[in-house]
Symmetry: C2
Subunit: 479 residues, 2 copies
Amino acid sequence: MGKKDKQFVEKVTAMEEDFAQWYTDVVKQADLVDYASVRGSMIIRPYGYAIWENIRDVLDKKIKDTGHQNMYFPLFIPESLLQKEKDHIEGFAPEVAWVTHGGSEELQERLVVRPTSEVLFAEHYSKIIHSYRDLPKLYNQWSNVVRWEKTTRPFLRSLEFLWQEGHTCHATEQDAAEETRKMLDVYATVCEDFLAIPVIKGRKTEKEKFAGANYTLTIESLMHDGKALQTGTSHHLGTGFAEAFDITYSDENGNQQYVHQTSWGITTRLIGALIMVHGDNRGLVVPPRVAPTQVMIVPIAQHKEGVLERAYELKGQVAEFARVDIDASDKMPGWKFNEYEMKGIPLRLEVGPKDIEKNQVVLVRRDTGEKSFVAMDELSTIIPALLEDIQQTLYDRALAHREEKTTNVTTFAEFKQALEQNPGFVEAMWCEDKACEENIKEETGATSRCIPFEQENRAGHCVCCGKEATQLVYWAKAY
Amino acid sequence: MGKKDKQFVEKVTAMEEDFAQWYTDVVKQADLVDYASVRGSMIIRPYGYAIWENIRDVLDKKIKDTGHQNMYFPLFIPESLLQKEKDHIEGFAPEVAWVTHGGSEELQERLVVRPTSEVLFAEHYSKIIHSYRDLPKLYNQWSNVVRWEKTTRPFLRSLEFLWQEGHTCHATEQDAAEETRKMLDVYATVCEDFLAIPVIKGRKTEKEKFAGANYTLTIESLMHDGKALQTGTSHHLGTGFAEAFDITYSDENGNQQYVHQTSWGITTRLIGALIMVHGDNRGLVVPPRVAPTQVMIVPIAQHKEGVLERAYELKGQVAEFARVDIDASDKMPGWKFNEYEMKGIPLRLEVGPKDIEKNQVVLVRRDTGEKSFVAMDELSTIIPALLEDIQQTLYDRALAHREEKTTNVTTFAEFKQALEQNPGFVEAMWCEDKACEENIKEETGATSRCIPFEQENRAGHCVCCGKEATQLVYWAKAY
């Protein structure tokens, strides 16, 4: 922050009062983003970007460990190329940015700023894949993409966002199916083990699937306000793009076959999820594993002899086992407490003259506010244990919240009541008829989030039309 | 490569015959790039991207170690924002891509796809800087940028490229000057110690400086064909953007002051430099420190019992101290030798039945072709030493080449003769008159590359007009 005239961090709006405003306040006051000149675009500030770098590094390692290679495709897609796969262009055309001029000349063909890169990958694959020996091809790209959204919110829905998009080719439908599932599981692991965000894994309905996919797998999470957020998707593309782009290989018998493809992505949206799952009325709460700074040292009465010296020594000590920083600026300790609570730093370490006398420090947890006095020579065991406990506590809390906010219903009346009285996920049977899905959306505002993999094996009746139904679906109002 | 019908890697054009074609052959056949649908755009393939990731990771660490923070700015810049700094817009307007439509609607104001982000940083800085306590601000961004180039070549000049752009604000001109120089030195270290590319550090002339800068520092390298390549630049922006965007701070006495800024960048162009400095007629030569794979194991007679098993054991062993891979495909060893020579992998390790009997392997250096038989239990000392020696040999070779191709001249006749008979750098005195600089370019095709920091302290006469001159300049034809 560092503004001369700003002695204390402003309070954020209470989330119970106005959740949307709370969110906006937190992203701004925790220094995650700033607004830019172009409507709907965001500047990701150093603190927000450091969180993204941590997510990226962890996921990138998992992507490589599962045999994928990174590469980079161009930002621009010629209009004619995007039009080759019909469902795909229909899905994306309304929300793309168009480049029409280069320098002072008008282009003969308009260019799309990539909203996603299936067609570029497909064109490349058609050139480099010839034989079954070339398969699978497992490529991934980290990049920016642009979607011309009408209403935007930082991280959740913005004109431009950062993401990774994996694009793979396989010899068989089964291989592609396994890949689709494998990468969804990778995303689920990153969300649960790293971001402490519990997810429900499942399949999207036909209506909600990706434009151009056979089917879409998804992980869905519940935010603090009871709305759902899609945190990652993995698409089985079948042979649609392969047919449109002529991506074939000769199999072991010399017959030409279409490849079976997948694509999968996660975005800076995960930062939005992190805010809305863990945050509270004092600001952000960052799970230790993703936190750029896990421990913030705040010296008390730092003008007194020996305090700063000792605080810096402690920093060196703690750096051996945690990401630690120190704020030795001349701001008041209370100001610093507020700032780092707003930023959601998991642990605060206070050390002042009295502590030094007693060879101890004060540790304050961001998640519970709990305060403990710890001997200096025990920090190397206590701090890692506390960080692990905070990580687990955040996950458990989020899971308990989701379970509390999930209602199993059998009738449409119950469905509506659940959304009103206990907003969150509604579990209900569905007949697989798109009309019922649309009707539910129209009457309740809830969309189908996913058909979970874990189906309680039961028959039942569609919550909307009452016909026989075999699919349990998670419904919710969603971001 | 993996194409069924391609038993051996095609040869590349000899560089003595046609250097441009040699370059194009190498980038294609070493699987660095593929061409994309949009003119002048490139697909960076996994092998090329892995090299970029290594450069990025090393530089990113240095950027962070020098106190900078990463962040991310939007891709689009409103036309009016770009126009705020006059020299800047004049320099960039002819070569930008314009977005005129979003979805189906025409935009009220055209958007520029960022060619560089000075104005976005400037706008943000004007909002977040208030007091001398907020300074310095040391930000960096890794991103893609677009410049609407007429003639393009992969890595060297393309419509879109990847880079990092640092943008900083300082209280004084002196602080900004130190930063400008510090980051140039960081770039020089990355080029010399990591990419084994010797550089000449210096200042650009007024004519060649960045649009909107007070002055531009540069590092210049010499390619194998005697042409120069600018490998990195660092700009002292003075207060130009600060005045245009009102970026002020109140100093310790409460007076409003403009900040002093810098910006600096390196790009995927470095990969082009690496190719043209180290490559030879068998393809790419990658210095060990940047090589995605440092040692490639090629089993000989791998169908014989125990060979593959032993080769994989060796892989595990070598992985302890080097980046190693194995090619156990059913291609012929000769095919594999060609492929990994084309890809410039520093060391090849061959192991066959006879070697296993003798408990030895064959090591072949890519840079010299030298072959040695090494006892298996000595690999952990021999391989790291060989890799270091290759790194040093490549640097020494490049430096010797540059020195051989640098001619010190005093007359214009000598200048022209040098460029014809020994194309490379020409060292010559210059009177600092732009007319002479333009005249030299017109008559010889050579541009001023830099005014080197290391000036032999001498007086002399301008090589062009004969007037007194105090500046020694490096001239060359350049990419």
